[in-house]
């Protein structure tokens, strides 16, 4: 069990709802993942297509807590207005706050992020900021009122995994009591397990499941990897070492002689 903004969750896998081949595959993937939190967004609604109305029915049917994002926002002003629209639309004060610096890396604009988080926290939002491993930005986000941080592993959709593992490890050590969720760049279940082994509280992913050959099977694979990684962290990992250390007892080895040179 872990807590985010006063709510308890069993599943440590947060799943995005985009890019699935069909609504039914999305539905089954969420079920296979055992996800309790799914990310959603809002987009312009056409009077003819009314696409959003059908999607809303599907989301309600999933029965998960929704975490609306501000994907695509490049300024604090856009992100704030988008979060406000999302709060009314989805009936939740939770927001995955994204302020994007540029379209090639989809890197968070940390300055805009802190600016938007400050306003939104003051307005009563429960902000889950999509950030980097930068510790000074993290401090500012916590000071703004965020109680959860979501550092990237690598650029959104890149499937590169944890490209700055040392920094993620530092972040975990620096904020031992803050729920930390690795968000973005996860490509394989082993990446997710790696994040969990570092002691991260949860993993948020989308593309690696949605674009897999079999998204339902992949959702299950991720769920198991995340659970395995968490168990490993709780169990306590052994320290790596440079030289070999025999696992089989040395004492009693047949033909053993103290002085091999003789």
């Amino acid at each position: 069990m872990f807590e985010l903004y006063g709510k308890s969750f069993t599943s440590r896998m947060l799943l995005g709802t985009a890019q699935y081949a069909s609504p039914d595959i999305l539905r089954q993937a969420v079920k296979a993942a055992g996800a309790e939190i799914v990310t959603v967004s809002l987009r312009r609604e056409s009077a003819r297509a009314r696409t959003g109305q059908g999607f809303w029915s599907l989301i309600e049917e999933l029965g998960c807590r929704v975490l609306p994002n501000t994907a695509g926002c490049h300024t604090a002003k856009e992100a704030i207005a988008t979060a406000q629209m999302a709060r009314e639309l989805f009936g939740t004060s939770w927001v995955k706050l994204e302020v994007i610096a540029n379209d090639d890396t989809l890197q968070p604009d940390l300055f805009g992020l802190v600016e938007a988080a400050t306003v939104l926290c003051a307005e009563g939002f429960d902000v889950l900021p999509y950030t980097t491993e930068d510790l000074s930005a993290a401090d500012r986000l916590l000071a703004a009122g965020c109680t959860v941080l979501m550092p990237w592993a690598s650029p959104i959709g890149s499937a590169r995994g944890l490209i700055n593992k040392t920094a993620l490890r530092s972040m975990r050590a620096y904020f031992p009591d803050t729920p930390l969720i690795v968000d973005a760049g996860i490509g394989t279940p082993s990446h997710a397990a790696e994040a969990m082994e570092l002691g991260y509280d949860a993993v948020l992913l989308n593309t690696a499941v949605a674009k897999a050959g079999d998204p339902i099977k992949m959702a299950k694979a991720f769920a198991q990897a995340i659970e395995a990684g968490r168990l490993a962290f709780e169990a306590g990992l052994v320290e790596p070492r440079d030289m070999a250390s025999p696992s089989t007892p040395v004492a009693g080895t047949p033909f053993f002689k103290i002085d091999h040179a003789s």
Binding site: T39, V40, S41, L42, R43, E45, S46, A71, A81, M85
Partner: protein
């Protein structure tokens, strides 16, 4: 009157945001709105008068990561 509706030029005689939403068939729909970059709550749509060249956003739930 010409406005910019979801990024496209749109002619309307709706005098306020609530009327515009109704004319578009969104009266009972799951939508949220913004005018000129600022959020407008559903309860304030009827008091939000529209003017020439206003930029209106009408959004709905969508898949997201």
């Amino acid at each position: 009157m010409q406005i910019l509706l979801n990024g496209e030029r749109f002619a309307t005689d709706a005098s306020n945001l609530d009327e515009l939403c109704a004319k578009l068939g969104f009266a009972e729909a799951k939508v949220a709105t913004a005018v000129n970059g600022s959020f407008v709550a559903a309860a304030k749509r009827s008091a939000t008068h529209l003017a020439e060249a206003d930029e209106i956003e009408i959004v709905a739930p969508r898949q997201g990561g």
